[in-house]
């Protein structure tokens, strides 16, 4: 019997025990003129319904590439996924046909981006762009789609939605544009929302508005949220658990309270000590020495070893696995015990 796309698609509502989304040993590489760039080297994480996972990392850590692989929006080529699985309610998305993935993309797993202005099409009204979700995915009529667009704009708290539905993206402020992006992403009630640096381009007061909105929407719909960011403050505010990425790998996985109280990887520890805080006036900032790794020329062994104060000889030669610290925590450092104990508690 020939299987149709809907047969292989995961049933709505999930299968009980499986996590909503799990990434397993994902590898992504890019063929560039300068050579093969291994952007993601064996990343695994899971996300349950209603949970917020923060993926923390600097530029080039592979945090955004992983998200793009989940969405299936990587340009292939130059990108390749040589290994790994992305299970959405138990089904490996990487094994699905392009047609089946289109069914999931935007409908079941949605994404918002850092730069809302370039993510919105400047020649269409925002109402048209939000309504498009309904017209394309649900075959709704133009008028119904517009009505839905107004409802959504109300839901993301855009004032005077009814009047502004015919406005163009450039007529909105940065914060309002990000709200429109969010409206589009939640239009079809996705089970997973990936937010890639959603507030990096925004001012701090607007950032607070947007983060509050996301948290409220998550409470209403119980969706899983993957928050990709470099901002340790935002993470501390909203995340349930954290995956810290460095050089294309996860170096630490932990519930949010543990990681801030007792980091188990020297990189996480260094980051926490290197950020100035608005509530404290510290005398000196600890600076992680050196520079993030060059993806074309990764250090041997542990990618962090050239910058690590805990480095021993074996860090240069052997890649540390993700050691389990307790059922909820793991750290990719040979000396995680020393790192944990080194923190005053």
């Amino acid at each position: 019997m020939k299987k149709t796309a809907t047969d292989v698609l995961p049933a709505e509502g999930g299968l009980g025990n499986d996590p909503l989304l799990s990434v397993e040993d994902l590898h992504v590489e890019f063929a560039t003129r300068a050579g093969l760039v291994k952007a993601v080297n064996g990343v695994s994480y899971t996300l349950s319904a209603g949970e917020t996972l923060a993926v923390l990392g600097e530029s080039g850590s592979g945090k955004s590439v992983t998200a793009q692989a989940i969405m299936g929006i990587l340009d292939m080529p130059p990108a390749r996924i040589p290994k790994g699985a992305i299970r959405f309610q138990g089904t490996d998305l990487l094994k699905l046909s392009e047609e089946a993935r289109t069914q999931i993309r935007g409908r079941r797993i949605a994404m918002i981006f850092q730069d809302a202005l370039s993510a919105l099409n400047p020649v269409f009204t925002v109402g048209w762009q939000i309504g498009e979700m309904f017209r394309v995915h649900q075959g709704m009529s133009k008028r119904d789609a517009e009505k839905k667009a107004v409802e959504l704009m109300d839901r993301v708290r855009i004032p005077a939605a009814k009047q502004r539905v015919h406005d163009f993206p450039h007529q909105f402020s940065g914060g309002m544009r990000q709200r429109i992006m969010i409206a589009m992403s939640i239009a079809l009630d996705p089970e997973v929302l990936i937010a890639d640096e959603p507030t990096t381009a925004l001012d701090v007061t607007v950032q607070a508005q947007i983060m509050e909105l996301l948290a409220e929407l998550q409470r209403e719909s119980n969706m899983g949220l993957i928050l990709i960011t470099h901002d340790l403050g935002v993470v501390a505010d909203v995340a349930d658990k954290i995956a810290v990425m460095y050089g294309g790998r996860i170096v630490e996985n932990a519930p949010v309270h543990d990681i801030y109280r007792r980091p188990a990887h020297p990189y996480t520890k260094g980051l926490l000590e290197s950020i100035p805080r608005v509530d404290l006036k510290g005398q000196d900032l600890y600076a992680i020495k050196g520079l993030p790794p060059n993806l074309l020329d990764m250090p041997t062994g542990c990618a962090f070893h050239p910058r690590c104060p805990y480095r021993q000889d074996n860090c240069v030669t052997s890649v540390p696995e993700l050691y389990e610290i307790d059922p909820n925590r793991s750290s990719a450092c040979h000396y995680w015990r020393e790192v944990l104990d080194g923190t005053d508690e």
Binding site: E58, S59, P159, S173, G174, G175, M176, D203, V204, T205, V206, Q207, A208, Q209, M211, E212, H230, D231, L232, G233, V234, V235, A236, D237, A239, V256, H257, Y260, R261, G270, L271, L272, S274, I275, P276, R277, V278, D279, K281, G282, D284, L285, Y286, A287, I288, K289, L291, P292, R307
Partner: protein
């Protein structure tokens, strides 16, 4: 460190309005953007004044006017007793030696067609009296060493360096003329978190070494708190609050400062459920058409009738220790609350 000596920079009633014009051949003015609208402050030797505010508040225009890159509409910028805003030609050029800047984007602030040696050495070519020709190469190498770069890399081009290293090159260029004042316009916001600390530490070390005064402009309140001795909070072209860092951060008196501070996420999940947040509604009004009276009143929860009619002046108010521009100023610790 505490400001000890007399102010080396005195800014008084600085105003910069940009005309809004219509038409191509026959331009007519249809309005003006009040980017900076009456800013006054002093800067002492060796001191850091932080300037915070959201995008569009005029802080970058303020930097440009202080650098004499834009001519102010009115007001004065007195450096060691001479008005830079009125200086011309050779006078202005000499005054520039004393005020240098570090820019935000390390990728666009260095000329890609010049070697690092030429970039850092350019100040000496422009101000030939500072260093004799034979000395310049050695001086450039010294500067590279001071900012923590390899002096042998003098012949490299900017694209061979990472963002943090480029920012060090920009800092070295700013130091070349041994200025007393350096204006840092968002110097770390384009850098990765782990690199930011390196550059902040470098700026602090250089300040101690050369007794520099910084004007540190940034939107990141945590960074500003870390580095500043005094802080000014800008909203729509004006300072709404100005005072010592501890006063501003621990006892903010202006509602805008309180909202701004409470919006900053604290990198510590403990007690986040109890933390109270002042969430401002809406966006700042346009600087082309600011509200009457107090400019913050359209988003303020304390606004009364007087706020629309009478503009609050920046002054020390009863019950507070520092200057604020609010009729209902009241010190309240929002950062440590909850």
């Amino acid at each position: 460190m505490a400001p000890t000596s007399e102010a080396i920079l005195k800014v008084r009633d600085l105003v910069k309005h940009f005309p809004l014009t219509q038409g191509i051949v026959f331009k007519r003015q249809v309005g003006e953007i009040k980017a900076v609208d009456g800013v006054s402050f002093d800067l002492h030797r060796g001191e850091t004044l932080g300037v915070v505010g959201e995008s569009g508040c005029g802080k970058s225009t303020l930097a440009k006017v202080l650098m004499a890159l834009e001519k102010p509409t009115s007001g004065s910028v007195m450096i060691n007793g001479k008005d830079m805003a009125k200086a011309r030609g050779g006078d202005l050029k000499r005054m520039r030696r004393n005020v240098q800047m570090v820019m935000q984007d390390p990728y666009t602030s260095l000329n890609p067609r010049m070697t690092v040696g030429d970039i850092i050495g350019e100040p000496y070519e422009i101000h030939t009296e500072v260093a004799p020709k034979g000395d310049r190469r050695r001086k450039v190498q010294e500067l590279l060493e001071v900012v923590g770069l390899n002096p042998d890399h003098i012949n490299r081009y900017p694209h061979q360096f990472s963002g943090g290293q480029r920012q060090r090159i920009g800092i070295a260029r700013g130091l070349a003329l041994q200025p007393e004042i350096i204006i840092c316009d968002e110097p770390v916001s384009a850098l990765d978190v782990s690199i930011q600390a390196q550059v902040i530490n470098l700026l602090e070390r250089l300040q101690n070494e050369f007794n520099l005064a910084y004007i540190f402009i940034a939107h990141d309140l945590s960074v500003v708190r870390h580095i500043s001795d005094r802080v000014g909070v800008m909203y729509l072209g004006k300072f709404v609050e100005l005072g010592k860092d501890t006063a501003i951060y621990d006892q903010p008196a202006h509602p805008y400062t309180q909202a701004l501070l409470s919006a900053v996420p604290v990198p510590d999940p403990e007690g986040r459920e109890q933390r109270e947040r002042i969430i401002l509604q809406g966006d700042p009004p346009s600087p082309a058409n600011p509200p009457s009276g107090c400019r913050f009143r359209t988003r303020c929860w304390k606004a009364q009738e007087i706020c629309a009619t009478e503009e609050p002046l920046l002054q020390i108010r009863p019950g507070t220790s520092h200057e604020s521009a609010c009729h209902f100023a009241e010190a309240q610790d929002v950062v440590h609350a909850g």
